[in-house]
Symmetry: C2
Subunit: 128 residues, 2 copies
DNA sequence: CGCATTATCGCAACTAAGTTGCAATAATAC
DNA sequence: GTATTATTGCAACTTAGTTGCGATAATGCG
């Protein structure tokens, strides 16, 4: 089990995920909480939140680690494998609601656990 | 234009992609050519090969940079967006032939340029 | 072929993200 | 209120990838 004590720092990091539907990079949190908490604290809290299946992690286009809220996961089982989409222009990462279409693609070849898409988001596409 | 002179080093790196269907990590090449060439040389050659649309790059599960051969790309246009699959157990990355199924998933929401899947590959699945 | 030009290379030093060990601090249980 | 121990801050580290610069070698031309 990851989280044991409910500290102020833990609460602050968790709050970020409550008021934000999309994914958040570890890096963003480090600079956002720059003068409130140490970066190792943030990384450790993220580890523990992931341990408890409250958030899940993946790697974005520039090799940075991103975290997003788990939707239907319990402490025991992580079963929220919704796809993520990162825009190459604005770098924002969006969670895509599961459609079950993806599993078809690869069928017998592999057991797919996560889907990561990149491209241009609506907003950036319409402003260029 | 990336590649201008056909040096021995350039040829050696390119050979790796000729005799290998799947993706190769920059990191692998650095240790593979450890006593033959400097790592900055390798990174620079990879940059140039990508510039010329001979290979394309993406980031794998651990944030490492991977490269795979471009199939139907010209120097002017990169149009090979085949999906990649990385196994979480053996870390191997496979190129998946384009099926055009993926574009359906997200349709009007985004312009998808790349698809990256993770999970368990056939070989690892059958040996556990 | 020989030479000048300049792309490429090796080296060392750097950057940035993320990790780790340890002593100090603070949350919890009794 | 105090003891226990999880959490935190700090500094030092690791690892992938980048950069500047002088040395080397590929190419083009006479």
């Amino acid at each position: 089990m990851g989280i044991i004590r409910k500290t102020k720092h833990f609460q602050k990091v968790l709050d970020q995920f409550s008021k934000q539907e999309n994914a958040i990079s570890a890096n963003y949190l480090v600079s956002h909480f720059n003068d409130e908490m140490n970066k190792s604290t943030i990384y450790r809290i993220l580890d523990k939140l992931e341990d408890d299946n409250i958030i899940h992690s993946f790697v974005g286009v520039h090799g940075l680690k991103w975290y997003a809220k788990c939707l239907d996961c319990t402490v025991k089982e992580h079963n929220d494998n919704h796809p993520h989409f990162q825009c190459e222009k604005c770098n924002e990462v969006q969670c895509i609601s599961q459609t079950n279409n993806e599993s078809k693609i690869i069928d017998a070849q592999f057991l797919v656990k996560s889907v990561f898409l990149t491209g241009i988001c609506n907003r950036c596409f319409s402003t260029c």
